[in-house]
């Protein structure tokens, strides 16, 4: 897979042929701004329903193996 990836990345250098120096990036295809919602409380999901579909739960919380080797 690594070789395939390297091949793809090589192929993707085709855009180096383009002069992009004065081109603005296009992140989103729509010109919207200020999409906001009112600060109104909506009901919470049911905890038991949610935890029932979790891989592991305990005391109303999601249970995970010990957190080591990670940084907050």
């Amino acid at each position: 897979m690594t070789q395939q990836l390297a091949g793809m990345l090589e192929h993707f250098r085709d855009v180096d042929a383009l002069d992009l120096s004065n081109v603005e990036p296009l992140n989103q295809p729509i010109p919207l701004t200020n999409v906001l919602r009112d600060d109104v409380v909506a009901p919470s999901l049911d905890r038991d329903e949610v935890l029932a579909s979790a891989p592991a739960a305990q005391d109303g919380r999601f249970r995970v193996p010990p957190i080591v080797g990670l940084e907050e």
Partner: protein
């Protein structure tokens, strides 16, 4: 009338006026499923009981004289990347197998509110990453028109379900052609709406700035009706355009007299002659109906492939990070949480998904952002600019939807780049956020359907459907 030829428009009006029962429509579909689903594998899940319950309810409502919706009794299959409350939603991935969302996608709610009957959740390339539905963790879907061939992808199950008469219509999602290409390969109408026209809320994200939900139908009028139901502003999606659904049914009879149809003179090569012949025939048909064909250029079109295969994986690498074995879905236990992530994702994701996550992670990483992701966004701009120039001269553009008719299983699985080339004509629309659709137009190799793609600018659904209806009349 064979079940696959029942149309959304016919079913909805017949069920509403009591001349046809929702249950009868459903039972036709279920009979077809019984006959052929084992071979086709369009579905990850057929929701027989819920569908019958729903059909019963609608028939009761009709008998009781209650108002029924615009889609009363219309059977619909949903791509299995749309959340359905309490009904398994897997994205054809082991990592989500068994997951029952606690909420409905907006499109699901809108269809249900109009009386649609959901038959099941359809197969897809895992997380919608693919062009053949061969990447499903649950096995491929076969093309009902020739089962030695793929139905296209990623919404191959949704296309196959309609083509095989398992449902009157279906919904798919289109990130780089995932509705239009399977529609072409299965002989259907498939619509990729303008970005922001249909809510993405509840659609499991692949490439968030590219994804749109759209319909698969057997007729252009059906597609128009479904669009009128599923489109329109949704406050739960910040990228939803703040306007009502377009009125499209009225466009269909207007014809194309006076319209200007663009032909791309510098179109990327590689399309097969049978496909190109049908494209020419389509131009002729429109010309005969009073349209003018004008030459336009899309010099950046070929580079769209690169832009797309960097932008979509970059967004996907972030979107798919949440599948971490903590809150839902698969977990492979391990001694610590970091090992658990690794083991879960290694076991849960298929090769194509892993490939794209790696690609996207790489494209966004600090040392390579400018060389890959940053450049891709600039190419995206060039493509949008190309389109702007072209649409100054024309109202819509015709291209092939797919360079070839449906191909055989395994033809392109060994070479990801060859598979990616399937999307060369469909991708630019997603990058620009414009409207596009595929309509069946004639046949090619082995008598298989050819799809012609109609491209239109953002919010150009009305002219696009005029052209589509004209091609449908001419085919």
């Amino acid at each position: 009338m064979s079940p696959s030829r029942r149309t959304v428009v016919d079913v909805a009006s017949a069920v509403a006026n009591g001349s046809l029962s929702a249950m009868a429509v459903l039972e036709e579909n279920l009979a077809a499923i019984t006959a052929r689903e084992a071979e086709i594998h369009a579905f990850n899940l057929v929701t027989v009981d819920q569908a019958r319950e729903r059909a019963t309810q609608i028939d009761a409502d009709v008998r009781a004289g209650k108002t029924v919706g615009r889609l009363a009794g219309v059977t619909i299959a949903l791509k299995d990347n749309m959340c359905t409350r309490g009904v398994e939603t897997t994205c054809s991935s082991k990592i989500l197998a068994g997951w029952k969302p606690p909420y409905d996608a907006t499109v699901v709610r809108r269809l249900a509110d109009e009386g649609a009957v959901f038959v099941g959740k359809t197969n897809l390339d895992e997380f919608a990453m693919g062009s053949s539905t061969e990447n499903s963790a649950f096995g491929p879907t076969r093309n009902p028109l020739d089962t030695s061939r793929v139905p296209g992808g990623s919404s191959g199950g949704s296309a196959a379900a309609v083509a095989a008469g398992f449902a009157t219509a279906s919904l798919g999602s289109d990130t780089g052609g995932s509705i239009r290409q399977p529609a072409a390969l299965c002989g259907l109408v498939g619509v990729k709406p303008t970005y922001g026209m249909v809510s993405r809320q509840g659609l499991v994200a692949f490439g968030s700035s590219l994804d749109q939900i759209g319909p698969f139908t057997t007729t252009v009028a059906d597609a128009a009706l479904l669009m009128e139901v599923i489109a329109g502003h949704d406050p739960l999606d910040s990228t939803s355009l703040p306007q009502p659904a377009p009125s499209l049914a009225g466009e269909l009879g207007k014809g194309v007299q006076g319209m200007r149809i663009g032909r791309i003179t510098d179109m990327p090569a590689g399309s097969s002659p049978d496909v190109l012949a049908q494209l020419e025939a389509a131009f002729d048909a429109l010309r005969n109906a009073g349209a003018t064909v004008v030459d336009v250029q899309m010099p950046s079109m070929l580079y769209g492939l690169t832009a797309y295969y960097l932008v979509a994986p970059a967004e996907a690498s972030s979107n798919l990070a949440r599948f971490d074995g903590v809150r839902f879905g698969l977990r492979v236990d391990a001694k610590d949480v970091n090992s658990m992530y690794g083991a879960t994702r290694a076991a849960g994701f298929g090769d194509e998904v892993k490939r794209r996550i790696m690609l996207g992670t790489y494209a966004l990483s600090a040392g390579y952002y400018d060389a890959y992701y940053g450049k891709a966004l600039k190419v995206r701009r060039l493509i949008a600019d190309d389109f702007a120039t072209a649409y100054a001269k024309c109202d819509a553009i015709l291209t092939p939807t797919s360079p070839t008719v449906a191909f055989k299983f395994g033809d392109k699985t060994s070479n990801p780049l060859a598979m990616y080339l399937c999307d060369v004509f469909t991708i630019p629309t997603n990058l620009a956020g414009h409207a596009a659709m595929s309509v069946p137009f004639g046949t090619g190799e082995a008598g298989l359907p050819v799809g012609v793609q109609i491209l239109a600018p953002a919010l150009g659904e009305a002219p696009m459907f005029r052209v589509a209806a004209e091609l449908e009349r001419a085919r």
